[in-house]
Amino acid sequence: MNAPVVIEMEGVAVVSPRNPELPLLEPVDWRVEEGECWVVAGLHGSGKTSLLHTAAGLQTVPRGQLRVFGEPVPLAAGEALTLLRRRVGVVFEGEGRLFPTLTVLENVVLPLRYHLDLSLAAAAAEVAPLMAEFHLDRLASFFPGRIGHAWTRRVALARALALRPALLLLDNPMEGLDPTHLRWWRDFLGALHRGHAWLHGQPQTLVITTDDLRPLLNVGDHFALSAGHQWRIIGDRAEVLASTQRDVRELLGESE
Protein backbone atom coordinates (compact mmCIF):
# COMPACT_ATOMS: atom_id res chain seq x y z
CA MET A 1 0.00 0.00 0.00
CA ASN A 2 1.31 3.43 -0.92
CA ALA A 3 2.08 5.93 1.84
CA PRO A 4 -0.07 9.11 1.88
CA VAL A 5 1.10 11.79 -0.53
CA VAL A 6 2.43 14.88 1.23
CA ILE A 7 3.30 17.11 -1.74
CA GLU A 8 1.84 16.64 -5.18
CA MET A 9 2.71 18.90 -8.09
CA GLU A 10 1.31 18.47 -11.60
CA GLY A 11 2.59 20.78 -14.30
CA VAL A 12 3.37 23.44 -11.71
CA ALA A 13 5.13 26.63 -12.78
CA VAL A 14 7.56 27.80 -10.11
CA VAL A 15 8.06 31.53 -10.62
CA SER A 16 10.39 34.19 -9.34
CA PRO A 17 9.00 35.96 -6.24
CA ARG A 18 10.10 39.33 -7.61
CA ASN A 19 8.69 38.73 -11.08
CA PRO A 20 5.70 36.35 -11.17
CA GLU A 21 5.83 36.44 -14.98
CA LEU A 22 9.24 34.76 -14.99
CA PRO A 23 9.05 30.95 -14.62
CA LEU A 24 12.13 29.45 -12.98
CA LEU A 25 11.02 25.82 -13.28
CA GLU A 26 8.25 24.55 -15.51
CA PRO A 27 6.63 22.08 -15.58
CA VAL A 28 7.25 20.46 -12.20
CA ASP A 29 5.65 17.03 -11.77
CA TRP A 30 6.55 15.71 -8.34
CA ARG A 31 5.13 13.45 -5.63
CA VAL A 32 6.54 13.35 -2.13
CA GLU A 33 5.16 10.56 0.01
CA GLU A 34 5.06 10.45 3.79
CA GLY A 35 8.37 9.51 5.38
CA GLU A 36 10.47 10.22 2.29
CA CYS A 37 13.58 12.36 2.29
CA TRP A 38 14.09 14.29 -0.94
CA VAL A 39 17.23 16.17 -1.82
CA VAL A 40 16.72 18.84 -4.51
CA ALA A 41 20.02 19.89 -5.99
CA GLY A 42 20.77 22.89 -8.15
CA LEU A 43 23.09 25.81 -8.53
CA HIS A 44 22.30 29.30 -7.22
CA GLY A 45 19.41 30.89 -9.07
CA SER A 46 18.05 27.58 -10.35
CA GLY A 47 14.73 27.99 -8.54
CA LYS A 48 15.27 25.70 -5.49
CA THR A 49 14.21 28.35 -2.97
CA SER A 50 11.13 29.30 -4.98
CA LEU A 51 10.23 25.60 -5.27
CA LEU A 52 10.34 25.24 -1.47
CA HIS A 53 8.36 28.45 -0.96
CA THR A 54 5.78 27.22 -3.46
CA ALA A 55 5.48 23.88 -1.63
CA ALA A 56 5.12 25.76 1.68
CA GLY A 57 2.28 27.87 0.26
CA LEU A 58 4.32 31.05 0.55
CA GLN A 59 4.26 31.67 -3.20
CA THR A 60 1.31 31.48 -5.54
CA VAL A 61 1.10 28.94 -8.34
CA PRO A 62 0.24 30.66 -11.65
CA ARG A 63 -0.12 27.37 -13.56
CA GLY A 64 -0.52 23.73 -12.61
CA GLN A 65 -1.93 21.81 -9.65
CA LEU A 66 -0.38 21.85 -6.18
CA ARG A 67 -1.75 19.77 -3.33
CA VAL A 68 -0.18 19.56 0.11
CA PHE A 69 -1.47 16.79 2.39
CA GLY A 70 -3.97 15.99 -0.36
CA GLU A 71 -5.58 19.45 -0.34
CA PRO A 72 -5.05 22.44 -2.63
CA VAL A 73 -3.19 25.24 -0.85
CA PRO A 74 -5.79 27.85 0.20
CA LEU A 75 -5.35 31.11 -1.67
CA ALA A 76 -6.65 33.43 1.04
CA ALA A 77 -5.44 33.82 4.62
CA GLY A 78 -7.66 31.99 7.07
CA GLU A 79 -7.94 29.02 9.40
CA ALA A 80 -7.29 26.45 6.64
CA LEU A 81 -4.03 28.14 5.62
CA THR A 82 -2.92 28.53 9.25
CA LEU A 83 -3.56 24.84 9.91
CA LEU A 84 -1.58 23.91 6.80
CA ARG A 85 1.33 26.09 7.83
CA ARG A 86 1.40 24.59 11.30
CA ARG A 87 1.99 21.20 9.62
CA VAL A 88 4.82 22.47 7.41
CA GLY A 89 8.13 23.59 8.94
CA VAL A 90 10.42 25.82 6.88
CA VAL A 91 14.11 26.48 7.50
CA PHE A 92 15.03 29.48 5.39
CA GLU A 93 18.36 29.88 3.63
CA GLY A 94 21.32 31.74 5.15
CA GLU A 95 20.72 33.05 8.65
CA GLY A 96 17.28 31.44 8.76
CA ARG A 97 15.30 34.71 8.90
CA LEU A 98 15.23 34.78 12.68
CA PHE A 99 13.54 37.70 14.42
CA PRO A 100 16.37 39.99 15.53
CA THR A 101 14.47 41.59 18.43
CA LEU A 102 13.79 38.21 20.07
CA THR A 103 16.35 36.09 21.90
CA VAL A 104 17.29 32.62 20.72
CA LEU A 105 14.81 31.02 23.14
CA GLU A 106 12.04 33.49 22.24
CA ASN A 107 12.59 32.74 18.55
CA VAL A 108 12.33 29.00 19.10
CA VAL A 109 9.21 29.14 21.27
CA LEU A 110 7.35 31.84 19.32
CA PRO A 111 5.21 29.45 17.19
CA LEU A 112 4.38 27.35 20.27
CA ARG A 113 3.43 30.39 22.31
CA TYR A 114 1.38 31.91 19.49
CA HIS A 115 -0.58 28.81 18.54
CA LEU A 116 -0.95 27.19 21.97
CA ASP A 117 -1.07 30.45 23.99
CA LEU A 118 1.67 29.30 26.35
CA SER A 119 3.68 31.42 28.76
CA LEU A 120 7.40 31.77 28.04
CA ALA A 121 8.29 29.45 30.94
CA ALA A 122 5.84 26.75 29.84
CA ALA A 123 6.99 26.91 26.21
CA ALA A 124 10.66 26.89 27.30
CA ALA A 125 10.03 23.73 29.31
CA GLU A 126 8.37 22.15 26.28
CA VAL A 127 11.35 22.80 23.96
CA ALA A 128 14.04 22.11 26.58
CA PRO A 129 14.99 18.69 25.10
CA LEU A 130 15.35 20.24 21.64
CA MET A 131 17.42 23.15 22.98
CA ALA A 132 19.71 20.71 24.81
CA GLU A 133 20.15 18.44 21.80
CA PHE A 134 20.92 21.44 19.58
CA HIS A 135 23.41 22.77 22.20
CA LEU A 136 21.39 25.99 22.21
CA ASP A 137 20.60 26.05 25.93
CA ARG A 138 23.74 28.07 26.68
CA LEU A 139 22.82 30.58 23.95
CA ALA A 140 19.15 30.88 24.97
CA SER A 141 19.37 34.49 26.16
CA PHE A 142 21.48 35.75 23.25
CA PHE A 143 20.04 37.73 20.37
CA PRO A 144 20.55 36.17 16.91
CA GLY A 145 22.91 38.95 15.83
CA ARG A 146 25.32 37.97 18.61
CA ILE A 147 25.82 34.33 17.60
CA GLY A 148 27.53 32.76 14.61
CA HIS A 149 25.63 31.87 11.44
CA ALA A 150 26.07 28.12 12.00
CA TRP A 151 24.23 28.50 15.30
CA THR A 152 21.52 30.78 13.89
CA ARG A 153 20.74 28.02 11.41
CA ARG A 154 20.29 25.56 14.27
CA VAL A 155 17.96 28.08 15.92
CA ALA A 156 15.99 28.26 12.67
CA LEU A 157 15.77 24.45 12.62
CA ALA A 158 14.62 24.34 16.25
CA ARG A 159 11.99 27.01 15.52
CA ALA A 160 10.73 25.07 12.50
CA LEU A 161 10.50 21.86 14.57
CA ALA A 162 8.88 23.45 17.62
CA LEU A 163 5.35 22.65 16.41
CA ARG A 164 6.34 19.07 15.39
CA PRO A 165 5.51 19.58 11.71
CA ALA A 166 4.58 16.66 9.48
CA LEU A 167 6.70 18.06 6.63
CA LEU A 168 10.03 19.85 7.00
CA LEU A 169 11.44 21.96 4.16
CA LEU A 170 15.07 23.02 4.48
CA ASP A 171 16.65 25.53 2.12
CA ASN A 172 20.34 24.81 1.63
CA PRO A 173 20.99 24.10 5.34
CA MET A 174 24.53 22.76 4.83
CA GLU A 175 25.87 25.82 2.99
CA GLY A 176 29.12 27.18 4.41
CA LEU A 177 29.27 24.95 7.50
CA ASP A 178 32.50 23.68 9.02
CA PRO A 179 33.00 19.87 9.27
CA THR A 180 31.78 19.71 12.90
CA HIS A 181 28.49 21.45 12.18
CA LEU A 182 28.16 19.57 8.89
CA ARG A 183 28.44 16.25 10.72
CA TRP A 184 25.90 17.37 13.34
CA TRP A 185 23.39 18.34 10.63
CA ARG A 186 23.92 15.10 8.71
CA ASP A 187 23.45 13.01 11.85
CA PHE A 188 20.44 15.00 13.04
CA LEU A 189 18.65 14.99 9.67
CA GLY A 190 19.34 11.25 9.38
CA ALA A 191 17.85 10.72 12.86
CA LEU A 192 14.80 12.83 11.95
CA HIS A 193 14.29 10.80 8.81
CA ARG A 194 14.53 7.50 10.68
CA GLY A 195 12.23 8.69 13.47
CA HIS A 196 13.32 11.03 16.25
CA ALA A 197 12.09 11.10 19.85
CA TRP A 198 10.96 14.73 19.37
CA LEU A 199 8.47 13.47 16.76
CA HIS A 200 7.54 10.48 18.92
CA GLY A 201 9.55 8.17 16.68
CA GLN A 202 7.62 9.07 13.51
CA PRO A 203 9.87 9.31 10.42
CA GLN A 204 9.94 12.94 9.30
CA THR A 205 9.12 13.79 5.69
CA LEU A 206 11.96 15.99 4.51
CA VAL A 207 12.75 18.09 1.47
CA ILE A 208 16.28 19.50 1.49
CA THR A 209 17.71 21.76 -1.18
CA THR A 210 21.43 21.96 -1.75
CA ASP A 211 24.09 23.23 -4.11
CA ASP A 212 26.44 20.40 -3.10
CA LEU A 213 25.17 16.83 -3.19
CA ARG A 214 28.10 15.27 -1.31
CA PRO A 215 27.07 15.92 2.33
CA LEU A 216 23.54 14.69 1.65
CA LEU A 217 24.23 11.52 -0.30
CA ASN A 218 23.76 9.38 2.80
CA VAL A 219 20.81 11.40 4.10
CA GLY A 220 18.40 11.53 1.16
CA ASP A 221 16.60 8.57 -0.37
CA HIS A 222 15.27 10.44 -3.43
CA PHE A 223 17.16 12.99 -5.49
CA ALA A 224 16.00 15.60 -7.99
CA LEU A 225 17.71 18.28 -10.01
CA SER A 226 16.68 21.80 -10.89
CA ALA A 227 18.81 23.16 -13.67
CA GLY A 228 18.28 25.26 -16.79
CA HIS A 229 14.57 25.89 -15.97
CA GLN A 230 14.05 22.12 -16.03
CA TRP A 231 12.90 19.81 -13.25
CA ARG A 232 14.42 16.33 -13.37
CA ILE A 233 14.01 13.42 -10.98
CA ILE A 234 17.34 11.62 -10.74
CA GLY A 235 16.41 8.66 -8.53
CA ASP A 236 18.11 7.15 -5.50
CA ARG A 237 21.69 7.44 -4.25
CA ALA A 238 23.04 4.76 -6.62
CA GLU A 239 21.46 6.53 -9.59
CA VAL A 240 23.01 9.83 -8.54
CA LEU A 241 26.45 8.26 -8.34
CA ALA A 242 25.97 6.51 -11.65
CA SER A 243 24.58 9.58 -13.41
CA THR A 244 26.61 10.92 -16.29
CA GLN A 245 24.66 14.19 -16.51
CA ARG A 246 27.04 17.11 -16.44
CA ASP A 247 24.91 19.07 -13.90
CA VAL A 248 24.86 16.13 -11.49
CA ARG A 249 28.65 15.54 -11.77
CA GLU A 250 29.14 19.26 -11.13
CA LEU A 251 26.97 19.12 -8.01
CA LEU A 252 29.02 16.14 -6.86
CA GLY A 253 32.05 18.43 -6.90
CA GLU A 254 33.65 16.99 -10.03
CA SER A 255 35.29 19.50 -12.32
CA GLU A 256 35.35 18.92 -16.06
Binding site: L81, R85, F92, F99, Y114
Partner: protein
Protein backbone atom coordinates in the same frame (compact mmCIF):
# COMPACT_ATOMS: atom_id res chain seq x y z
CA UNK B 1 4.92 79.64 -26.79
CA UNK B 2 5.62 75.93 -27.41
CA UNK B 3 7.60 75.76 -24.16
CA UNK B 4 4.66 77.20 -22.22
CA UNK B 5 2.28 74.68 -23.80
CA UNK B 6 4.65 71.75 -23.10
CA UNK B 7 5.29 72.79 -19.49
CA UNK B 8 1.58 73.29 -18.75
CA UNK B 9 0.84 69.88 -20.31
CA UNK B 10 3.53 68.17 -18.23
CA UNK B 11 2.24 70.01 -15.15
CA UNK B 12 -1.24 68.69 -15.87
CA UNK B 13 0.09 65.15 -16.45
CA UNK B 14 2.08 65.32 -13.24
CA UNK B 15 -0.97 66.60 -11.30
CA UNK B 16 -3.11 63.76 -12.70
CA UNK B 17 -0.43 61.21 -11.78
CA UNK B 18 -0.17 62.62 -8.25
CA UNK B 19 -3.95 62.55 -7.89
CA UNK B 20 -4.04 58.90 -9.01
CA UNK B 21 -1.29 58.04 -6.53
CA UNK B 22 -3.24 59.71 -3.73
CA UNK B 23 -6.42 57.81 -4.70
CA UNK B 24 -4.46 54.52 -4.83
CA UNK B 25 -2.91 55.23 -1.41
CA UNK B 26 -6.31 56.07 0.13
CA UNK B 27 -7.82 52.91 -1.37
CA UNK B 28 -4.93 50.77 -0.16
CA UNK B 29 -5.06 52.29 3.31
CA UNK B 30 -8.83 51.75 3.50
CA UNK B 31 -8.44 48.07 2.56
CA UNK B 32 -5.59 47.69 5.07
CA UNK B 33 -7.72 49.32 7.79
CA UNK B 34 -10.63 46.95 7.10
CA UNK B 35 -8.30 43.91 7.21
CA UNK B 36 -6.77 45.14 10.48
CA UNK B 37 -10.12 45.71 12.17
CA UNK B 38 -11.32 42.37 10.81
CA UNK B 39 -8.30 40.67 12.38
CA UNK B 40 -8.80 42.61 15.61
CA UNK B 41 -12.40 41.40 15.75
CA UNK B 42 -11.86 37.77 14.76
CA UNK B 43 -8.73 37.25 16.85
CA UNK B 44 -9.70 39.09 19.98
CA UNK B 45 -8.50 37.14 23.00
CA UNK B 46 -6.33 34.80 20.90
CA UNK B 47 -2.63 34.22 21.65
CA UNK B 48 -2.82 36.60 24.61
CA UNK B 49 0.49 35.35 26.01
CA UNK B 50 2.22 36.76 22.93
CA UNK B 51 0.02 39.70 21.92
CA UNK B 52 -0.53 41.29 25.35
CA UNK B 53 3.21 41.91 26.05
CA UNK B 54 3.55 43.34 22.53
CA UNK B 55 0.72 45.80 23.24
CA UNK B 56 2.36 46.73 26.57
CA UNK B 57 5.66 47.30 24.75
CA UNK B 58 4.01 49.64 22.25
CA UNK B 59 2.17 51.59 24.97
CA UNK B 60 5.45 51.94 26.87
CA UNK B 61 7.41 52.90 23.78
CA UNK B 62 4.90 55.36 22.26
CA UNK B 63 3.41 56.58 25.54
CA UNK B 64 5.42 56.25 28.73
CA UNK B 65 8.80 56.91 27.12
CA UNK B 66 7.48 60.04 25.39
CA UNK B 67 6.01 61.47 28.59
CA UNK B 68 9.05 63.70 29.35
CA UNK B 69 9.07 65.37 25.93
CA UNK B 70 5.29 65.82 25.91
CA UNK B 71 5.45 67.32 29.42
CA UNK B 72 8.18 69.68 28.28
CA UNK B 73 6.15 70.70 25.21
CA UNK B 74 3.08 71.16 27.42
CA UNK B 75 4.98 73.45 29.77
CA UNK B 76 6.72 75.40 26.99
CA UNK B 77 3.69 75.85 24.72
CA UNK B 78 1.54 76.60 27.75
CA UNK B 79 3.81 79.50 28.64
CA UNK B 80 4.25 80.97 25.18
CA UNK B 81 0.72 80.41 23.94
CA UNK B 82 -1.72 80.15 26.85
CA UNK B 83 0.16 82.68 28.96
CA UNK B 84 0.12 85.24 26.16
CA UNK B 85 -3.53 84.61 25.26
CA UNK B 86 -4.61 85.05 28.86
CA UNK B 87 -2.52 88.23 29.32
CA UNK B 88 -3.74 89.79 26.07
CA UNK B 89 -7.39 89.04 26.75
CA UNK B 90 -6.99 90.52 30.23
CA UNK B 91 -5.40 93.68 28.77
CA UNK B 92 -8.31 94.30 26.37
CA UNK B 93 -10.89 93.43 29.02
CA UNK B 94 -12.08 90.25 27.31
CA UNK B 95 -11.59 87.89 30.28
CA UNK B 96 -14.92 86.24 29.65
CA UNK B 97 -13.49 84.72 26.44
CA UNK B 98 -10.51 83.12 28.20
CA UNK B 99 -12.28 79.84 28.83
CA UNK B 100 -13.79 79.53 25.35
CA UNK B 101 -10.51 80.37 23.64
CA UNK B 102 -8.44 77.95 25.73
CA UNK B 103 -10.92 75.12 25.31
CA UNK B 104 -10.97 75.63 21.54
CA UNK B 105 -7.25 76.20 21.02
CA UNK B 106 -5.61 73.98 23.63
CA UNK B 107 -8.06 71.23 24.54
CA UNK B 108 -9.84 70.65 21.24
CA UNK B 109 -7.09 71.41 18.72
CA UNK B 110 -3.54 71.78 19.97
CA UNK B 111 -3.29 68.92 22.49
CA UNK B 112 -4.40 66.05 20.18
CA UNK B 113 -2.30 67.39 17.29
CA UNK B 114 0.86 67.82 19.37
CA UNK B 115 0.51 64.37 20.98
CA UNK B 116 -0.14 62.76 17.58
CA UNK B 117 2.79 64.52 15.90
CA UNK B 118 5.21 63.72 18.74
CA UNK B 119 4.29 60.02 18.55
CA UNK B 120 4.67 60.11 14.77
CA UNK B 121 8.05 61.85 14.89
CA UNK B 122 9.63 59.90 17.75
CA UNK B 123 8.20 56.40 17.34
CA UNK B 124 6.26 56.31 14.07
CA UNK B 125 9.18 56.92 11.75
CA UNK B 126 11.33 54.36 13.60
CA UNK B 127 8.48 51.84 13.31
CA UNK B 128 8.27 52.27 9.52
CA UNK B 129 11.98 51.55 9.29
CA UNK B 130 11.64 48.47 11.53
CA UNK B 131 8.67 47.08 9.64
CA UNK B 132 10.12 47.96 6.24
CA UNK B 133 13.40 46.25 7.13
CA UNK B 134 11.52 43.19 8.39
CA UNK B 135 9.59 43.09 5.13
CA UNK B 136 12.70 43.59 2.99
CA UNK B 137 14.64 40.86 4.86
CA UNK B 138 11.85 38.30 4.55
CA UNK B 139 10.86 38.20 8.24
CA UNK B 140 7.20 38.63 7.30
CA UNK B 141 7.43 35.49 5.17
CA UNK B 142 9.04 33.74 8.14
CA UNK B 143 6.05 34.72 10.30
CA UNK B 144 3.65 33.47 7.64
CA UNK B 145 5.58 30.20 7.38
CA UNK B 146 5.06 29.70 11.12
CA UNK B 147 1.32 30.26 10.70
CA UNK B 148 1.54 33.59 12.53
CA UNK B 149 -0.70 36.30 11.09
CA UNK B 150 1.57 39.36 10.53
CA UNK B 151 -1.43 41.69 10.94
CA UNK B 152 -2.24 40.15 14.32
CA UNK B 153 1.39 40.01 15.47
CA UNK B 154 2.77 43.30 14.12
CA UNK B 155 -0.10 45.65 13.28
CA UNK B 156 -2.70 45.09 16.00
CA UNK B 157 -0.29 45.81 18.92
CA UNK B 158 0.93 48.99 17.22
CA UNK B 159 -2.55 50.29 16.45
CA UNK B 160 -3.74 49.63 20.02
CA UNK B 161 -0.50 50.95 21.53
CA UNK B 162 -0.53 54.16 19.48
CA UNK B 163 -4.23 54.74 20.22
CA UNK B 164 -3.68 54.46 23.98
CA UNK B 165 -0.45 56.48 23.81
CA UNK B 166 -1.87 59.46 21.86
CA UNK B 167 -4.96 59.54 24.13
CA UNK B 168 -2.88 59.47 27.32
CA UNK B 169 -0.26 61.96 26.14
CA UNK B 170 -3.00 64.41 25.07
CA UNK B 171 -4.34 64.53 28.64
CA UNK B 172 -0.88 65.14 30.12
CA UNK B 173 -0.13 67.79 27.51
CA UNK B 174 -3.31 69.80 28.00
CA UNK B 175 -3.16 69.72 31.80
CA UNK B 176 0.44 70.94 31.82
CA UNK B 177 -0.20 73.55 29.10
CA UNK B 178 -3.14 75.02 31.00
CA UNK B 179 -1.24 74.97 34.30
CA UNK B 180 1.95 76.52 32.92
CA UNK B 181 -0.09 79.11 31.01
CA UNK B 182 -1.66 80.28 34.24
CA UNK B 183 1.73 80.24 35.97
CA UNK B 184 3.18 82.48 33.22
CA UNK B 185 0.25 84.90 33.42
CA UNK B 186 0.49 84.91 37.23
CA UNK B 187 4.19 85.76 37.12
CA UNK B 188 3.34 88.69 34.82
CA UNK B 189 1.05 90.02 37.54
CA UNK B 190 -2.30 89.05 36.06
CA UNK B 191 -5.15 89.89 38.45
CA UNK B 192 -6.88 86.53 37.96
CA UNK B 193 -7.08 83.90 40.68
CA UNK B 194 -6.47 80.21 39.93
CA UNK B 195 -10.09 79.52 40.91
CA UNK B 196 -11.38 82.11 38.40
CA UNK B 197 -9.06 80.79 35.69
CA UNK B 198 -10.28 77.21 36.00
CA UNK B 199 -13.89 78.40 36.43
CA UNK B 200 -13.63 80.11 33.01
CA UNK B 201 -12.34 76.88 31.44
CA UNK B 202 -14.90 74.68 33.20
CA UNK B 203 -17.72 76.98 32.08
CA UNK B 204 -16.57 76.81 28.46
CA UNK B 205 -16.27 73.00 28.49
CA UNK B 206 -19.36 71.02 27.52
CA UNK B 207 -20.11 67.44 28.51
CA UNK B 208 -19.65 66.42 24.87
CA UNK B 209 -16.05 67.66 24.93
CA UNK B 210 -14.91 64.63 26.94
CA UNK B 211 -16.13 61.84 24.63
CA UNK B 212 -15.24 63.94 21.55
CA UNK B 213 -11.68 64.42 22.80
CA UNK B 214 -11.40 60.69 23.54
CA UNK B 215 -12.68 59.79 20.05
CA UNK B 216 -10.49 62.35 18.32
CA UNK B 217 -7.28 61.28 20.07
CA UNK B 218 -8.11 57.59 19.55
CA UNK B 219 -8.63 58.26 15.83
CA UNK B 220 -5.35 60.18 15.58
CA UNK B 221 -3.49 57.32 17.29
CA UNK B 222 -5.17 54.54 15.32
CA UNK B 223 -4.66 56.35 12.03
CA UNK B 224 -0.97 56.95 12.80
CA UNK B 225 -0.52 53.26 13.63
CA UNK B 226 -2.36 52.14 10.51
CA UNK B 227 -0.45 54.45 8.15
CA UNK B 228 2.87 53.36 9.66
CA UNK B 229 2.06 49.68 9.28
CA UNK B 230 0.58 50.17 5.81
CA UNK B 231 3.70 51.92 4.55
CA UNK B 232 6.04 49.44 6.25
CA UNK B 233 4.25 46.20 5.49
CA UNK B 234 1.56 46.37 2.87
CA UNK B 235 3.81 46.52 -0.15
CA UNK B 236 6.98 44.65 -1.12
CA UNK B 237 9.95 46.80 -0.14
CA UNK B 238 13.63 46.66 -0.85
CA UNK B 239 16.02 48.15 1.69
CA UNK B 240 16.53 51.21 -0.52
CA UNK B 241 12.75 51.88 -0.59
CA UNK B 242 12.47 52.33 3.19
CA UNK B 243 13.57 56.00 3.22
CA UNK B 244 10.83 56.92 0.74
CA UNK B 245 8.25 54.93 2.70
CA UNK B 246 9.20 56.84 5.86
CA UNK B 247 8.75 60.27 4.28
CA UNK B 248 5.44 59.14 2.72
CA UNK B 249 4.30 58.03 6.16
CA UNK B 250 5.00 61.44 7.69
CA UNK B 251 3.16 63.22 4.87
CA UNK B 252 0.17 60.84 5.02
CA UNK B 253 -0.11 61.06 8.81
CA UNK B 254 0.06 64.87 8.91
CA UNK B 255 -2.50 65.24 6.11
CA UNK B 256 -4.65 62.50 7.68
CA UNK B 257 -4.61 64.14 11.12
CA UNK B 258 -5.59 67.51 9.63
CA UNK B 259 -8.41 65.92 7.59
CA UNK B 260 -9.71 64.13 10.69
CA UNK B 261 -9.39 67.39 12.59
CA UNK B 262 -11.46 69.18 9.96
CA UNK B 263 -14.21 66.56 10.33
CA UNK B 264 -14.58 67.53 13.99
CA UNK B 265 -15.04 71.26 13.29
CA UNK B 266 -18.77 71.04 12.39
CA UNK B 267 -19.36 68.76 15.38
CA UNK B 268 -17.71 71.28 17.73
CA UNK B 269 -19.73 74.10 16.18
CA UNK B 270 -22.91 72.20 16.98
CA UNK B 271 -22.12 71.45 20.65
Amino acid sequence: MDTVVVSSTSLYTSAVRQFRLVIAAVRGLTAFTLITFGTLYTKVGRSQQVIRPLVHDQVYRAGVKLLPIVCFLGLALGMVLVGQIVSMLQQVGAEKFIGQLLVTVVIRELAPLVAGLVVLARVGTASVIELGTARALGEIEALEALGIDPIHYLVVPRVIGFTVAVSGLTVYFLLLALASGYAFAFVRGLPLSLQEYFDHIAAALTLADFPLLAIKTALFGAMTGLVICYQGLAQPLRLEDIGGATTRTVAMCVVGCLCLDALFVPIYLLV
